[in-house]
């Protein structure tokens, strides 16, 4: 690890003004410290902002506000989250390990970097780590790679589970920028596709700090499911994951949410399938048709064709699980 300076901040504005080019903010540190150990992140300094950010979950008039510093473990057991947005708790518990969840922050979860194995192997080319060097995964091991939204520059996927639920629930991200201005970024616009800048994972303005995440009040706290398919049942990133939620009137679907992890460089909402589900009977045939619509959209790489079949199965299963949850 490269030597670095370390300081603690007690105010967002102070942290922002102290921020210099090669300095990074540190919250839970569960990803950043690993990246520093691997010489993937090589900051000159860290500013610990864990004390300046809220660690509260608060009910507001039309939404639930999750402080940036709410630890994953606290989020997963928060009574308000369990009552109003249980899908979020399900997703959080599908990720990492209890030890990591005890450390990891909500905002940090949004900012965690891809787990593409080539990104982690500094001796191999990677456009995300070393722009312009090429993408090793494009012609390499693609088991964990994208099936939608990728390009030749990068086939990595976003690794979070929490973010898949937040995307499904149309959350928004509250940000304070370098000039102390407050911004609200809709969740769908927060993360980005690789495009020509695969080194950037999201649209967080340079040197800005996430202060909280809002989830609008929603009717998806009764029929929901988070299904994560992976090579083992705990402590593994998703091959594919599905956050599904239904609003039902009798057996008719009034509204639906469907998002996936492990498929793209950002949490992916299946909007076409969501539209299709609206107004339909909640049954196996409907779910199967929705899954087929999703499958039509994806273009697996040569090394991960199975993900298309797996995703269809996962969507059908997740939707089915919504009825029994």
């Amino acid at each position: 690890m490269k030597p670095f300076s370390f300081s603690k901040s007690d105010k967002v504005s102070k942290a922002l003004s102290a921020k210099k080019e090669a300095v990074q903010f540190l919250a839970g540190g569960t990803n950043l410290v690993d990246l520093m150990k691997k010489n993937i992140a090589v900051p000159d300094g860290l500013i610990d902002i864990s004390a300046v950010l809220s660690d509260k979950v608060e009910a507001q008039t039309v939404n639930t506000r999750i402080g940036a510093m709410v630890r994953n473990s606290a989020l997963a057991t928060d009574p308000q989250i369990l009552a109003k947005n249980p899908l979020v708790a399900k997703a959080v518990l599908a990720g990492a390990s209890p030890q990591i969840r005890n450390m990891a922050s909500t905002a940090g979860n949004l900012l965690q970097r891809t787990r593409c194995p080539y990104f982690y192997e500094t001796s191999t080319p990677c456009n995300k780590r070393n722009p312009g060097s090429g993408c090793s995964a494009l012609h390499g091991e693609q088991r964990m790679s994208a099936i939608i939204g990728y390009n030749d520059a990068c086939v990595a996927v976003h690794p979070s589970d929490l973010c898949i639920a937040l995307a499904a629930l149309s959350a928004s991200v509250n940000v304070t920028d370098k000039g102390n201005k407050q911004l609200v970024i809709p969740f769908k616009d927060f993360h980005k596709l690789p495009e020509s800048t695969p080194e950037l994972d999201n649209h967080l303005p340079k040197d800005a700090i996430i202060t909280s995440v809002d989830i609008p009040d929603n009717p998806f706290n009764k029929h929901f499911a988070y299904l994560k398919l992976r090579d083992r049942d705990s402590y593994a990133f998703a091959l594919v994951s599905v956050a599904a939620a239904l609003e039902l009137e009798g057996n008719r679907i009034k509204d639906a949410r469907l998002a996936s992890g492990g498929v793209a460089h950002k949490p992916w909402r299946w909007q076409k399938a969501e539209q299709y589900l609206k107004g339909k009977e909640a049954n196996a045939a409907t779910f199967s048709a929705a899954a087929a619509m999703v499958a039509d959209e994806v273009k697996p790489l040569p090394g991960n064709g199975f993900k298309k079949v797996m995703l269809m199965g996962a969507i059908e299963t997740a939707l089915q699980n919504c009825l029994t949850a």
């Binding site: 010489n39 090579d231 091959l239």
Partner: protein
């Protein structure tokens, strides 16, 4: 050095492992945890190509880092006497001599070593070393490489292939398994301390301190007795600790160079490349039977990967010769050089891979015959005699294992028709397979020192890699002498203690039990002699008639003839009684064949939509002779089954075909089974003493627990789905497509 169970004295009643409290309180020290004054740290920099030649190494930036004491490369290495000739190198059995070549044979091969005051400084400096290479084409993909490598005859051919060329029922299939890594929790680490020009103290993660002594003695040409090795607590081994790796050699070199004690602990990614692995293998099994299911013959071919600089052959076809009566048997093998590190023995080495092919082929045959696979096996077991050398088995209860296991899993619920049990999106199936391992025994010594208050310390150089050796020694000493367990302390894992071989190949328990039995006899004889000075009844007492208690000795006779320890000590002017004895295999090895065995059963659920396989139940019945210690023994088996689940469903090294790196070489990227993947594992033992193997009647269980587990799961997946998957691991994608 402390007592293995030093911290147990607080416990009123001893329960569980003797070292349990030391382990859970952190008092027990693993190799890298020892503190040595003035110690510094060494870190390897690895190659970033998989094949080629080093053209240049630029060290200037690394040298600038504060605290750097030395950087060693092939250009400036210190003289290592054991690496001066090819013959000497071979004799060390240390593999590729560290820093003695400009050639690169695999990625992450150590090409430089930074020694610095702190681990942080050494690690940072190592990251600043710049190397240029002349790169050659590397071969890392076993599946692509093996077809061009020819096979050759392995062992004696029994009968002939022609004898069963017209067998009415034949299976002829190919089976693949990906390479797997051991990756025990504790990383391989060594602290090396030269206490004089020719004297060395090593704290090393190993499965055998004597092997470390021997190897380091050969490499550095100093007498073995000048090398003191500590390995008191070992955080898992699974075979990776049976060789001396570059961490030990590097630490010793570095310590010499900077004239300070040096610690070298491998990183987790280095563990994937530098401490061996179970090699990838291809096998073809042709198996013939008559219409009633009697086996007529088998033709077993196998190839395994090895490194480009060292041959390593797995005993892929060894198990084929053991379990069943095959009058006709032909085995062929070969090895496939790859640009990877050298593989090594990994739990159930050879047999584990071989059993996957043979036990799946037998399962396939059972469906062709429409015959229950348990009945098919029972029909063909070689129970009384070893089918290879025709010697009678001293004991062999594999038939009882499979019968009992079938009862435990409720085998009658299984349907012969694959895919017959459906629960929603899940298919349910049952599978069986068996495993066998030769019940070996080696020479071992043990010592006992006894104090006036009855406290006994039982000692051996053998390590306890988590298998419960120390607890077994305590139990056996209690059984052999009658001394209460709380008076029996254990000291082990240190080279100055009575010598014993490595803990590997399931020989640890078998070997040490002989030594403990022998030393208990010697102690009892000695005590009887001392007691005879007080009570003449002890004059001609046989050791078997002498009983110890916390306060004295007695004789197995009507009036006990009790003599107190206090009197013995006073009368004979004693301080400590110290005795030692050795024991090893003898003529029984000429007369009998020895085996331990397992029958594995799995009940699996397979999701037809997601490809997910859940092992719902795992049952294993094992024959390990006398079970000295039921809890650790069951723990051995259930741990092996967790390994078997990993082998069956997820464990796999992915070398990148173009770059030669191991993709995902950390514990997040390499999937082994975790608790969530393991069902409640049901273990039972036959628990009948083997009459000839050793005085305790106990046979080793470490290896045989995993042998047969993966094929039982693969066979259950077939029974559930009708899909025969012959390529391990069976990940969800293979189930789906």
């Amino acid at each position: 050095m402390g007592l293995f169970n030093a911290k147990n004295k607080a416990a009123a009643v001893l329960k569980g492992r003797v070292e349990g409290i030391a382990k859970v309180t952190g008092a027990g020290k693993y190799a890298a945890e020892y503190r040595v004054d003035n110690m510094c740290h060494a870190v390897f920099a690895g190659s970033t190509i998989a094949a080629g030649t080093i053209k240049s190494i630029y060290l200037e930036n690394a040298k600038q880092v504060e605290g750097v004491l030395a950087i060693i490369t092939h250009l400036n290495k210190p003289g290592v006497p054991g690496f001066t000739t090819e013959a000497k190198i071979k004799d060390t059995r240390a593999g590729l001599p560290l820093f003695h070549t400009d050639k690169v044979y695999f990625r992450n091969q150590p090409i430089a070593m930074v020694v610095a005051n702190t681990l942080e400084e050494a690690t940072y400096a190592a990251s600043l070393i710049e190397v240029t290479y002349e790169e050659d084409k590397a071969t890392v993909d076993f599946k692509k490489a093996h077809p061009t490598v020819p096979l050759s005859l392995q062992g004696r051919e029994r009968g002939s292939l022609d004898a069963w060329s017209s067998a009415p029922v034949v299976v002829d299939q190919e089976y693949d398994i990906a390479a797997e890594v051991h990756n025990p929790m504790e990383m391989h680490a060594t602290i090396a301390h030269w206490t004089a020009a020719d004297k060395l103290v090593l704290y090393d993660k190993t499965q055998g301190v004597v092997n470390v002594q021997r190897t380091i003695s050969k490499i550095f040409e100093i007498p073995t007795e000048n090398i003191e090795v500590f390995s008191e607590f070992v955080g898992g081994g699974f075979g990776s600790g049976l060789r001396v790796w570059t961490n030990a050699v590097g630490a010793v070199m570095a310590a010499k160079q900077v004239d300070r004690p040096v610690k070298l602990m491998l990183t987790r990614p280095q563990m994937f490349s530098l401490t061996g692995y179970r090699p990838a293998a291809w096998q073809r099994v042709k198996l013939g039977a008559d219409k009633e299911g009697k086996f007529l013959g088998i033709h077993h071919q196998g190839k395994n990967g090895t490194s480009a600089f060292e041959p390593f052959q797995e005993g892929l076809t060894t198990i084929t010769r053991m379990i069943y009566n095959f009058d006709n048997l032909k085995a062929e093998q070969s090895i496939v050089p790859l640009n990877l590190g050298t593989p090594t023995w990994m739990r159930g080495p050879g047999d584990c891979t071989g059993a996957f092919a043979v036990e799946c082929a037998i399962d396939e045959l059972s469906y062709q015959l429409n015959m229950d696979p348990v009945a098919l096996r029972l029909k063909n077991f070689a129970i009384t005699h070893d089918p290879e050398n025709k010697k009678p088995y001293s004991s062999n209860f594999i038939d009882e294992c499979i019968t009992k296991g079938a009862e435990m899993i409720d085998w009658k619920q299984r349907k012969q028709q694959p895919g017959a049990i459906t629960e929603g999106d899940w298919k349910v199936g049952y599978g069986v397979a068996v495993g066998m391992w030769g019940a070996g025994r080696g020479n071992a010594s043990a010592g006992i020192s006894m104090e006036k208050d009855g406290t006994m310390t039982v000692k051996t150089a053998m390590t306890d890699i988590g298998t419960g050796t120390g607890t077994a020694m305590q139990n056996m000493t209690h059984t052999f002498t009658g001394m209460p367990k709380d008076k029996i302390k254990i000291e082990l894992g240190h080279s100055t203690l009575p010598t014993a071989g490595s803990q590997g190949g399931s020989t640890g328990m078998s070997s040490i039990s002989g030594a403990v039995s022998a030393v208990c006899e010697v102690l009892k004889k000695q005590l009887a002699a001392y007691a005879a000075a007080i009570n003449p009844a002890y004059k001609d007492a046989k050791p078997g008639d002498v009983l110890l208690s916390a306060t004295g000795v007695s004789l197995k006779s009507d009036n006990n003839e009790f003599v107190s320890l206090a009197d013995i000590w006073q009368k004979n002017n004693l301080t400590t009684i110290a005795v030692k004895a050795s024991s090893g295999p003898g003529a029984e090895r000429q007369q009998y064949a020895f085996c331990c065995s397992t029958a594995h059963f799995a009940k699996v659920r397979v999701n037809t939509k997601t490809g997910k396989v859940k092992v719902e139940r795992a049952v294993c019945v094992a024959d390990g002779g006398t079970i000295v210690n039921e809890k650790p023994a069951a723990n051995q088996i259930s741990g092996a089954i967790v390994g078997g689940i990993g082998m069956a469903l997820m464990e796999e090294i992915h070398p990148d075909d173009k770059l030669g790196n191991l993709v995902g070489n950390d514990l997040a990227g390499y999937h082994f089974a975790v608790n969530a993947d393991a069902p409640m594992i049901e273990v039972a033992f036959i628990n009948k003493p083997d009459p000839y193997v050793n005085p305790s009647g106990a046979k080793g269980l470490g290896e045989v627990g995993i042998i047969g587990c993966a094929p039982a799961i693969a066979n259950a997946i077939y029974n559930a789905t009708g899909k025969r998957l012959r390529d391990l691991p069976i990940t969800p994608d293979k189930v789906l497509i």
